[in-house]
Symmetry: C2
């Protein structure tokens, strides 16, 4: 039974790293004191070790020990043995390229489907979707595929941003980009605002978070806003 | 002798399609009445035909006939025979995937290197760089490679946007993304603001446009602003 939190962001404005999720994380990881950290998304290009140090400090506040998967000689075995897993945000292309390089896609998918508690933030949430084709990240490395873990039947667009009505900029809005995605792909997309997360547990899939709606994009339909506590199981 | 205009955007605020470039385009395409249009970037997912209709209207205002490459049975031949070429903006992934699918990368590169006048806007400028790894676009389709035409020894970041100091949003700024690119790649990047373009002509490579500086990113260096009329030949 899948047991995941897929969050739009690790950090919200005026709050420390993961702080807004501490209560959720205590519950998610209640059966383990040790969580395996996947630092491969390397935000701002920092090293695996630097990133793990940052994430460790967050998890210390809920009395959990975090161990970077990069410290194991055999990362597949590390994933197979994990009692809890956290994939942090950063660049989704860098993350996915590394997961393919180390052949971790299938072991990670299997572990999550078996019910190992999993936290994803930003890029770590993107990879739970059908593909990484709705990431906002810059394609700074070339992964062997855009196919990801397919834990959810939809894709997530993390850090979802509403169009700025005052903008004179001609670059595409997020909504325009996701509509372009649906010219080429059928997968529903959840525009997940910072402070929202998706909770998969007991065969449920619920939008949670601090009073924010999410924007749901389905092919050939007008996007709709859904409030917190909405079940997302209808999206396929 | 390369003869190109690589523009950040087709359209600036309070101006019609390509209008701010009309004088430049009259000069660029002065030796031909017919320009071949490459509509494969499909902005907002519109069809090749719809896109060509839009671009045609712009070119009518400078008395040039635009013909969509998609209307030819043999697009390689159409490129080989072109007296002028314009690649419009849209989604760079969609554009590059189609250029590879139709095996147009090498013919297009060859034509431009031979001196055929070329206009690129947005995605059409991105592809003139070493790779498409500094596009802002969403990876809605999977191209067989991120390698592009390599007309310039640098990459372009079109629609370059400065960080908003008032923002509380946690998504990466454009500058952060380009700095991440340089953790993995050596290619210099030109952050080209809307209203700026790069003019390649007579073995020169000059930043042009309406009084805007461009932001130059080189690996292991602090980014710098360069004013219009700066030669960009030093970037390798």
């Amino acid at each position: 039974m899948i047991n995941c939190i897929l969050a739009s962001t690790s950090t919200i404005h005026n709050s420390s790293y993961l702080e807004y999720l501490f209560n959720e994380l205590k519950e998610l990881f209640r059966n383990t004191d040790e969580v395996l950290f996947i630092p491969y998304a390397r935000p701002s290009g920092i090293s695996h070790e630097e990133y793990t140090t940052i994430a460790k400090k967050g998890f210390q506040k809920i009395n959990k020990k975090l161990i970077g998967v990069h410290t194991f000689d055999d990362p597949i075995k590390a994933i197979n043995n994990a009692k809890g897993i956290f994939t942090g945000g950063g660049n989704t292309f860098v993350l996915v390229a590394k997961l393919y390089e180390l052949q971790l896609i299938n072991p990670l998918r299997k572990k999550i489907l078996e019910g190992t508690p999993y936290l994803g933030t930003s890029a770590g949430s993107n990879i739970a979707g059908v593909s990484m084709k709705t990431t906002n990240d810059m394609p700074i490395v070339y992964p062997p595929s855009f196919t990801t873990l397919h834990i959810t039947p939809f894709n997530i667009n993390a850090h979802y941003l509403d169009p700025d009505p005052k903008s004179t900029h001609k670059g595409e809005t997020r909504e325009t980009r996701i509509k372009e995605f649906h010219q080429f792909n059928k997968t529903p997309v959840i525009g997940l605002r910072e402070g929202s997360w998706i909770r998969l547990k007991n065969n449920q899939c619920i939008l949670e978070g601090k009073e924010l709606s999410a924007r749901i994009f389905e092919q050939n339909k007008e996007p709709v806003e859904v409030p917190p506590n909405t079940s997302l199981l209808y999206l396929k």
